[in-house]
């Protein structure tokens, strides 16, 4: 089926793109073992490039990003923990350097806001649906009811074309 073939092509392209976005910036760095390299890769994925602000430090080509990657690498090699490296950058650049905003009172709105809105919407929807169910059917006068019956009988009598 053409659809599945398209889906496969898209999935393959996405996998390749994802793979290449992860890999190309790391050739210049030496690591003691693959675990350390994976750690580094994860860490720079969590940090934001402040110049190209939609990109993480892992993906960005900007000069500053290269410089910060070097800085993170140097800090990592000198034995600093992930938390210490993140703290180093946040104390200089602020929370925005984190690709994922921290959960703090100032960010509760963006973290929980969507869920709150969904809950409110669901509640309103629930109420509206319940109301619709409870509404009494429109009052129909006896004369109108008789007309309805007559019309329905006439329709069912004269063979319906379906």
């Amino acid at each position: 089926m053409p659809i599945t073939r398209h889906l496969f092509a898209v999935a393959l392209a996405a996998a390749l793109a994802w793979g290449s976005a992860q890999a190309y910036t790391l050739e210049e760095f030496q690591f003691d073992n693959p675990a350390q390299e994976a750690d580094f890769r994860t860490l720079i994925g969590k940090l934001r490039c402040l110049v190209c602000q939609n990109e993480s430090l892992a993906a960005s080509q900007a000069d500053l990003a290269q410089d910060l990657r070097q800085e993170v690498y140097d800090l990592m090699r000198s034995g600093k923990s992930n938390a210490e490296i993140i703290d180093f950058l946040v104390s200089r650049y602020g929370d925005f350097v984190l690709y994922q905003p921290p959960v703090k009172p100032s960010t509760y709105l963006i973290w929980f806001g969507p869920f709150v809105l969904i809950a409110v919407g669901a509640f309103l929807l629930f109420r509206v649906l319940r109301q619709k169910g409870a509404e009494p059917e429109a009052e129909v006068s006896a004369a109108d009811e008789a007309r309805i019956d007559a019309l329905l009988k006439a329709e069912s009598g004269s063979g319906q074309d379906q």
Binding site: L50, Q53, Y93, G94
Partner: protein
């Protein structure tokens, strides 16, 4: 009739509130990242002078004086535009010293080892001294991520304001001058 009008007004109200919020969001500039250094001591540095190769300048130069630390580079177009304003400020404000930070401005080739010098010759030099930071040694401590950026440091060495983007007359009068007046040494 009244009940159903109200029912229509509530979603409309929510929509308007959301629209206002989103329009406000559109007007924010995400490149103006607020600095966590406001109110904190200026980071220490020890850098070579741009104009005097080999001569080292330490952060002691900020002590006891109100300073503008202006971050620029020779490839920065907006910095060139800002330069005239800086010269004006240097003339008008005798209490204020302007320290330049030539940031990530390494030589392009062997013929021009310090592109910052040609830039100064072309646009003028309002700076008391200029720090040469081609390797982002000091910039990273100050949280510099672009040019131009300008820090206002009070005589006690505390950072009081960070300007992201060039300083024009409006920014100077409305935002920076009030803080300058606040921390200006008395007497």
């Amino acid at each position: 009739m009244k009940g159903s009008t109200l029912r229509y007004l509530v979603p409309l109200g929510i929509f308007i509130a959301l629209a206002v919020l989103l329009f406000w969001g559109l007007k924010q500039d995400p490149h103006k990242v607020p600095s966590p250094l406001i109110g904190k001591p200026a980071p220490a540095f020890e850098l070579e002078s741009l104009t005097d190769p080999g001569k080292m300048i330490g952060s002691g130069i900020l002590e006891g004086r109100l300073s503008l630390v202006n971050v620029w580079s020779s490839t920065c177009y907006a910095c060139a535009q800002e330069h005239a304003m800086l010269e004006r400020i240097a003339k008008e404000e005798q209490d204020l010293q302007i320290i330049g930070l030539d940031w990530m401005d390494p030589p392009e080739d062997a013929t021009d080892p310090r592109p910052g010098l040609a830039y100064l010759a072309r646009f003028g030099n309002p700076y008391r001294v200029i720090l040469y930071d081609p390797d982002n040694k000091a910039g990273i401590d100050w949280g510099v991520y672009g040019t131009p950026e300008t820090f206002l440091v009070d005589p006690q060495g505390i950072i009081r304001y960070k300007q992201i983007g060039p300083i024009d007359a409006q920014v100077w009068h409305n935002e920076i001058l009030p803080i300058v007046n606040q921390y200006r040494p008395k007497g």
